[in-house]
């Protein structure tokens, strides 16, 4: 009998195929019982698969999927073949496609990173599948910084994902259970808080023996089973999730199963409830605990196919250093291959805790791997610390090759944490170290890292010079992964001087990265093709690759690449006059990835400029944020748009003279800017000048009213070519700033069409001052005249409906079929939000008064 769960069961019953249900509740509240009760009602031909996340300090990578794969040979095959994550996930999805099924993932609060990614992947795509996925988790363990929180947040807006909470039992329900046994129901309710597990645990102890605490209840019950049984419980309590039956004395297991404390499933033993396991575990003395872990380890180590993550767990708990060093690295490699970089890092971290007595070479390798996995999982400060330890160790045994390679990786991590100077110093030191010896792979990696750092700082000639050395060396050594990364840096660095060559090199880099399955490198190539072309206003190339980058990284859940490409799409939309689209993408970036600094800078810059041009309030807020973040990076590519946007906003609010300031070079006619802002524009201009960035020099030079150098982008020097580039705002302002009144009015109209009200107002004021009095008053889209948004045809039909004509009569008047009329009438009713023709008619008469 399941008390007070009818509503929740109904929710599960009514979950249509293509739904994911997230079931939260405290431990012991009955999530598993609820799912079981639901699954018992399903037709027998619907497959139900369970996957368990376990409470290992460092969980098995994709543990639940391994459980599920027992009845999915295809998936099991992929997993054991060590296929990459995307391949495993798509195979799993394909297996869910043929017909209805239920997949249950239990205890997701303990999920490893790979499983969290799987849940995200499933949640985003479940809508197209005939499958139902049920996920249980302990809501009280999912705090603000819990990794599952991110998944819950990301899935919050996914349509096919529902969330339910399993509440505690009411006092009435507890009473109905306890009263027949003659127990003090009020006390029982107070003691258990309505938690069904506690309630049933307590109820199943003898009536005259009501324990003070539930923990005592569990323990006293355990002790009453006898010492042999208690020994079984002790062992099983130390094995998270499920224990092999062979671990324990079969005879002593019997009473544990009979009492209901333990359950037997597929030859595995587990506690019926995790709370009972914890109660027993905490009752085992510390000394005995580590001895028992040692026994478990010895036993499991002798079995076939035991997950090394489990062995590593028991090895550490038993204090067996040699075993930790044997199993933790294996578990780490498996986790990394499954894309669970956080778990891989945790395994390496476990290994380095126990490696003090190992050979220096082995220690250095472990720290190096730890650094790498921290980098992949975004734990940058831990990664930098680990890399520094590895560097010291490699240095101490004179292995310069390995030392240099770690320094290259460390330099890129330093850049990601905005320590740009330290990053470049580290890369330079690595290069110096390695150039003393014969050139090898490490030197190729170092040069690739140097080239990337230079390219990001827009030191293009230097980036090309160093990057080409990396390309040549990587090619000679057959290191395709480094080749891909190096081509990316060199290619991107070509955009300012030779865009066609840039595209060519980046596409070659893309091929190289794709060839070795370097997903992050592939995404980076697509993103740089898009953003590099965008930065020089080659929108056709930019839009194509940004679209590809968003789709490709979206499919692989490479969120950071996706969000950066999305931010660039917003910038491209904005510059090409697609302001509604730009505004929506900006919103998604700002809300979706607050920690991604470069994407935030782009999004806030676009938002500020958009508001300024539309004449909307709060321009300075977003622009101040963009500028603050841009200054942190110190990079021209961030500083230039942010400071130019501030100049534009100030120029606009100060009266907007000259009209084409910031667009056409007018020597000596600088826009009026405040002293501080002018100094910041000048400093950024000088940086741009030094780096010879044609577009940054052009835009910033125009704001300053200085004479532009020849290499500045042509439209800024001549005021021509904006329309050909696809920049309607700049083109319109150039028209409006001319001296032919007809063209000035045309420019004004274009600004009005764009919705650039603030700019249009500036132009109108100036034209009136010049004596032009007959100015257009702004665009009048038909919807403006018609609050319900009816089309002209619909309005015609509505007018006749209001005269109480029938569809055939209306059709005859308008020379269309009655069926078409009917179609228009439904559309009209829908838009007006009314249900009858009479209501629509009254609405029309009211409006046409």
């Amino acid at each position: 009998m399941l008390l007070e769960r009818d509503e929740l069961l109904a929710v599960l019953r009514e979950s249509a195929p293509g739904t994911m249900v997230l079931i939260g509740g405290e431990a012991g509240i009955g999530k598993t019982t609820l799912v079981q009760a639901h699954c018992d009602t399903l037709p027998s031909d619907v497959p139900v698969r369970f996957g368990f996340c376990d409470a290992l300090g460092t969980p098995r990578a994709l543990g639940p999927l391994h459980d599920i794969a027992r009845t999915m040979p295809e998936v099991a095959g992929r997993l054991s073949a060590g296929a990459d994550r995307h391949d495993v996930f798509t195979t799993f999805l394909d297996q869910l496609r043929p017909g209805p099924s239920v997949t249950v993932v239990e205890d997701a609060q303990w999920a490893d990173e790979g499983t969290l990614d799987l849940l995200l992947y499933l949640g985003r795509r479940i809508g197209d599948l005939p499958a139902v996925v049920l996920v249980t988790y302990r809501s009280e363990e999912v705090g603000r910084d819990h990794p599952l929180r991110r998944v819950l947040g990301d899935l919050a807006t996914a349509r096919p994902v529902r969330r339910i909470q399993v509440p505690a039992l009411s006092q009435a329900a507890v009473t109905s259970l306890a009263e027949p046994l003659g127990l003090d129901t009020a006390r029982l309710y107070a003691l258990t808080g309505g938690n069904p597990f506690f309630v049933t645990e307590v109820l199943s102890t003898p009536a005259d023996d009501l324990p003070v605490t539930v923990r005592d209840a569990v323990l006293s019950r355990a002790d009453r089973l006898g010492s042999a049984a208690r020994a079984v419980l002790d062992i099983v309590s130390l094995v998270p999730d499920r224990a092999e039956m062979s671990l324990v004395d079969p005879e002593a297991l019997e009473p544990c199963l009979e009492s209901g404390l333990l359950l037997l499933e597929d030859g595995m033993v587990r506690f019926r409830h995790e709370l009972a396991r914890r109660a027993v575990e905490t009752d085992v003395s510390a000394v005995r605990r580590s001895l028992l872990h040692g026994r478990v380890l010895d036993h499991l180590a002798g079995l076939q196919g035991v997950d090394p993550a489990r062995l590593s767990h028991h090895a550490e708990a038993s204090g067996d250093r040699t075993a930790v060093l044997r199993y933790a690295p294996i578990a780490a490699r498996l986790a990394a291959r499954a894309g669970a970089h956080r778990e891989a890092a945790a395994q390496y971290a476990r290994a380095v805790r126990h490696c003090a007595a190992a050979q220096v070479q082995e220690q250095a390798e472990l720290w190096e791997h730890l650094a790498h996995e921290c980098d992949s999982s975004g734990a940058l400060s831990d990664g930098i610390a680990a890399a520094q330890r590895a560097i010291e160790l490699w240095q101490s045994i004179g292995n310069t090759e390995r030392q240099g390679a770690v320094m290259a990786q460390c330099s890129l991590m330093l850049w990601k944490t905005a320590q740009n100077a330290a990053a470049r110093a580290m890369a330079a030191a690595a290069a110096e170290l390695l150039e003393a010896g014969p050139p090898g792979r490490a030197l190729a990696q170092v040069h690739a890292a140097q080239a990337r750092l230079l390219m990001l700082a827009r030191e293009m000639p230097a980036a090309i010079e160093v990057g080409s050395r990396a390309v040549e060396l990587a090619e000679r050594l057959g290191d395709t992964q480094t080749l891909g990364r190096a081509l990316n840096a060199v290619g991107t660095a070509h955009f300012l001087t030779d865009p066609d060559r840039a595209v060519e090199l980046l596409e070659a880099g893309l091929d190289a990265s794709a060839q070795v399955g370097d997903d992050a490198g592939t995404a980076a190539a697509m993103v740089n093709l898009g953003s590099g072309a965008g930065e020089i206003r080659r929108y056709e190339v930019a839009d194509r690759w940004l679209g590809e980058a968003v789709a490709w990284s979206g499919q692989r859940d490479l969120d950071s690449s996706r969000i950066y490409a999305l931010a660039w799409q917003a910038r491209s939309d904005f510059e090409q006059g697609r302001w509604a689209a730009a505004s929506q993408r900006v919103e998604e970036v700002i809300a979706g990835a607050p920690q991604h600094v470069p994407a935030q800078i782009i999004a806030y810059t676009v938002l500020g400029r958009l508001r300024a041009r539309r004449g909307d309030p709060d321009v300075s807020g977003p622009l101040a944020t963009a500028w603050r973040l841009a200054q942190q990076t110190g990079d021209l590519q961030r500083l230039w748009p942010a400071v130019a946007a501030r100049a534009e906003a100030e120029w606009m609010s100060g009266g907007g003279e000259p009209l084409d300031a910031g667009i056409t070079s007018r020597v000596g006619e600088a826009a009026q800017l405040g002293e501080d802002l002018a100094a910041e524009v000048r400093a950024t201009y000088e940086l741009a000048l030094r780096l010879r960035h044609p577009w940054a020099v052009g835009e910033l030079g125009c704001w300053l009213g200085v004479e532009l150098p020849d290499f500045a982008a042509a439209p800024y020097r001549t005021g021509e070519g904006w329309r050909e580039l696809g920049c309607p705002f700049e083109a319109a302002l150039v028209l409006a700033a001319g001296d032919d009144p007809e063209r000035q009015v045309a420019g004004l109209q274009e600004l009005q069409q764009l919705g650039a009200r603030a700019a249009a107002d500036l132009v109108a004021r100036q034209l009136r001052r010049e004596g032009l009095v007959r100015l257009p008053r702004g665009p009048r889209p038909t919807t403006r005249e018609n609050p319900a948004g009816l089309t002209d045809r619909e309005t015609e039909v509505l007018a006749l409906v209001a005269q109480q004509l029938r569809n055939t009569e209306i059709g005859a008047r308008l020379h269309i079929s009655a069926k078409t009329v009917d179609h228009h009438v439904s559309a009209v009713l829908g838009k007006l939000g009314v249900s009858t023709r009479q209501e629509a008619g009254r609405w029309f008469r009211a409006f046409s008064e």
Partner: protein, 90 residues
């Protein structure tokens, strides 16, 4: 929430009947606003029904624009405003 004054022009005039229909039309606007987290406080309408000054609470100017689009309403100008009355400083 920020408060905004939204100016709108209706070249043909805005006529909302004072009956159930009119009430429904207003409630529809309220519903359309709700999708964007925007609240219509109230409006002032010029005697010729061609210009309205609408007070709104909303998260951002973009939300005000999205809501206007949903409701098929024009937007001329959005200004961020604060309340001031004769006894504000008392």
């Amino acid at each position: 929430m920020t408060r905004y004054l939204v100016e709108r022009t209706f070249p043909e005039g805005l006529a909302i009947p004072i009956d159930d229909r009119g009430a429904k039309a207003c409630l529809d606007v309220v519903e359309g606003n709700a999708e964007h987290g925007v609240t219509w406080v109230h409006s002032y309408v010029s005697p010729d029904h061609r210009t309205t000054y609408c007070l709104y609470d909303g998260p951002s100017p973009e939300a005000i624009r999205h809501a206007a689009e949903t409701n098929g309403l024009p937007v001329d100008r959005i200004t961020e405003v604060r309340v001031l009355d004769p006894y504000f400083y008392h």
